[in-house]
């Protein structure tokens, strides 16, 4: 009984409720926005000079002859079962298509994200801890530059330098048999991953840097050092723990941003991922694909936010109100 009423569990329940309701809200928004697209979704099923009977059948097939609320609940029910219907253009199942694209997008996003963290932690720390030295300033300056560069432009420059000039990595594309040729697959992800990682790392560096500065200037660090702890020990024991909580909530947001970076970079490097699928679908007004990709992305973003909040709560139980857990 006690554990069921512990603050963490109460928090978890409340946070889950918010997760579900915001997912519902997001799908309503998605539904409304997509229904704003001019023309009937059945249009694409029809050939020129379709008879009224054919039009009726096509409207029935896509369900656009039902009342809106009914359409919505039917649609919502399908979405939460990951049934996104079939593409208006290719006629194949959207969920199959979307999940097969995840094989590129998920590794691309995750690897870039972890690489960005790996870069940002030492760089951010050094640029704060050694901010009086020239290399601290340089690192800080570079990260300022990094956040100002459009991610696709970095990609273009990388292609010209590493693929066309030095010819060390492919300029784009993904092996026909995908991860069955692991070496080729990894090689084709090197440049896209580096592109995203560099840009993401730049924005993470700022957070790590200011978190480090906060910790360096804090009382408990000074106290533990005064008590005779070694500096590195003090940092690990108190600094990381106190610095980590705000950074984790930022990471949640930044992971979502990394995913967007992936969407753009996939186009630059001609990778068969979710992003290139979405852009193609938008150009072709392929509703079911658009809603499938956007629903899944929203779901991903919400779940990441949920996990980040939860993790932060576990690390730093002193936070009593989740709404204040994020730094403005």
């Amino acid at each position: 009984m006690r554990t069921l009423n512990s603050p963490l569990v109460r928090y978890l329940r409340r946070r889950l409720l918010i997760l579900v309701s915001s997912l519902f809200l997001a799908t309503v928004t998605l539904f409304v926005l997509l229904r704003l697209i001019p023309g009937d979704p059945s249009n694409s099923l029809l050939s020129v000079g379709a008879t009224p009977d054919q039009i009726k059948a096509a409207r029935h097939a896509v369900g656009s002859d039902l009342p809106l609320t009914q359409q919505f609940f039917h649609w919502f029910n399908q979405l939460i079962h990951f049934n996104f219907g079939t593409s208006l253009i290719s006629g194949v199942s959207v969920s199959g298509e979307v999940f097969s694209r995840l094989r590129v997008t998920v590794p691309l996003t995750c690897i870039s994200f972890f690489l960005a963290i790996l870069i940002a932690l030492p760089v951010g720390f050094i640029s704060a801890y050694r901010r009086q030295k020239w290399y601290g300033t340089l690192l800080n300056g570079l990260s300022q530059l990094g956040i100002a560069i459009p991610v696709f432009w970095v990609g273009i420059i990388f292609i010209y330098a590493f693929a066309l000039h030095w010819m060390v990595f492919p300029a784009g594309g993904f092996p026909p048999d995908g991860w069955h040729s692991p070496l080729a697959a990894v090689r084709s992800l090197v440049l896209p991953v580096s592109t995203i990682a560099i840009v993401m790392a730049s924005s993470l560096v700022r957070y790590v840097r200011s978190a480090t500065l906060d910790v360096l200037g804090s009382d408990y660090l000074r106290t533990s050092r005064a008590l005779g702890f070694k500096f590195s020990h003090a940092i690990v024991r108190h600094g990381l723990r106190n610095g980590a909580a705000p950074v984790i909530s930022i990471l949640g947001i930044e992971l979502a941003t990394t995913f967007v970076g992936a969407v753009v970079v996939e186009s630059v490097f001609a990778l068969p991922g979710l992003g290139s699928l979405l852009i193609k679908a938008i150009a072709e007004h392929d509703y079911p694909v658009i809603q499938g990709v956007l629903f899944l992305s929203t779901l991903g973003v919400l779940i990441i936010g949920f996990l980040a909040d939860l993790l932060q709560r576990i690390i730093d139980p002193r936070l009593n109100r989740f709404t204040e857990s994020r730094s403005g």
């Binding site: 918010i18 915001s22 809200l25 997001a26 998605l30 926005l33 997509l34 704003l36 697209i37 800080n140 300022q144 530059l145 956040i147 100002a148 560069i149 459009p150 991610v151 696709f152 432009w153 273009i156 010209y160 840097r209 200011s210 500065l213 949640g252 947001i253 979502a256 941003t257 995913f259 967007v260 969407v263 753009v264 186009s267 979405l278 852009i279 679908a281 938008i282 150009a283 007004h285 658009i290 956007l294 992305s297 929203t298 973003v301 919400l302 990441i304 936010g305 109100r321 989740f322 709404t323 994020r326 403005g328």
Partner: protein, 268 residues
């Protein structure tokens, strides 16, 4: 005025001036195709011409106009929506405020570019779609910040006293809250200006921004990829200008922060 502020103001001033100027005068009109195909830079065409013989320098300036328009309008719309929502939330009772903040958190976490793609899917690619999406993204960030700052101010003793004496909330906002929070808001907004420019360039690069012949820097970069061997300037200039602009805006934000509150700026 500190160095950062001076440097950034001269950068931003140049951009504002050239894009404002472009409304009245351009070296060549946008539909002037009198030049030759892909001319090299010369006195007639400072940065050469594009495939159609249009002056590239003029196209770049028009591109700066688009960034400035997008930046200013999105920041204004985002500020209006965001600050009002944030104030409302700041005054709201706890439960309502919690729900509201939770949704704001989600909106913030939801990437602007995805939102923009959704809007483009619904409305078609246009400058308005891009502005709409970016403004929404900005307003979420602003709303959250305003709410936080409002709560902080509302907790102060003199406000409690004012509320107890029956001062209307509108008066409280005007007299006590806005004067206390506007500096922080301005800093946040100038950072968002840079992000808006980057977002618009990304959308245009993907072909989801302002449709041709409007030459946003993103679409100029997209076009230039094709002719990078014959006209390398076209693939470098728009990107470089965008970087300079965003760095300028970020410097401006830092400089402002330092000026308004030297202790806050201390982390630089």
């Amino acid at each position: 005025m500190n160095t950062r502020l001076k440097l950034s103001l001269s950068i931003l001033g140049t951009f504002l001036f050239s894009s404002g100027m472009s409304v009245i005068w351009l070296p060549y009109k946008l539909d002037d195709t009198s030049g030759l195909r892909l001319e090299s830079p010369s006195w007639h065409h400072l940065l050469g011409t594009d495939k159609l013989g249009r002056d590239y320098f003029s196209r770049l300036i028009v591109g700066s106009r688009i960034v400035v328009i997008v930046g200013i309008t999105t920041v204004i719309i985002g500020a209006l929506i965001g600050v009002s929502l944030g104030l409302l939330a700041g005054f709201a009772r706890r439960t309502r405020d919690d729900t509201f903040s939770a949704f704001l958190d989600i909106l913030i976490a939801f990437p602007t570019l995805l939102l923009a793609m959704l809007i483009v899917a619904a409305r078609g690619a246009s400058l308005t779609s891009a502005i709409l999406a970016i403004s929404l993204g900005i307003s979420a960030v602003l709303a959250r910040l305003t709410r936080l700052l409002t709560k902080r101010v509302l907790g102060a003793d003199y406000i409690l006293a004012a509320r107890a004496s029956g001062t209307s909330w509108f008066r409280i906002v005007i007299i006590h809250i806005l004067p206390n929070i506007w500096t922080t808001l301005i800093v946040a907004l100038s950072l968002q200006f840079g992000l808006a420019g980057l977002a618009e360039a990304g959308l245009s690069y993907l072909g989801l921004g302002a449709p041709p012949p409007n030459a946003s820097w993103g679409s100029l970069l997209q076009e230039a990829q094709d002719t990078v061997y014959t006209a390398p300037i076209a693939a470098i200039a728009p990107g470089l200008l965008l970087v300079i602009l965003v760095v300028g805006v970020n410097l401006f934000a830092d400089g402002l922060r330092e000026r308004f509150d030297p202790t806050l700026g201390g982390n630089q």
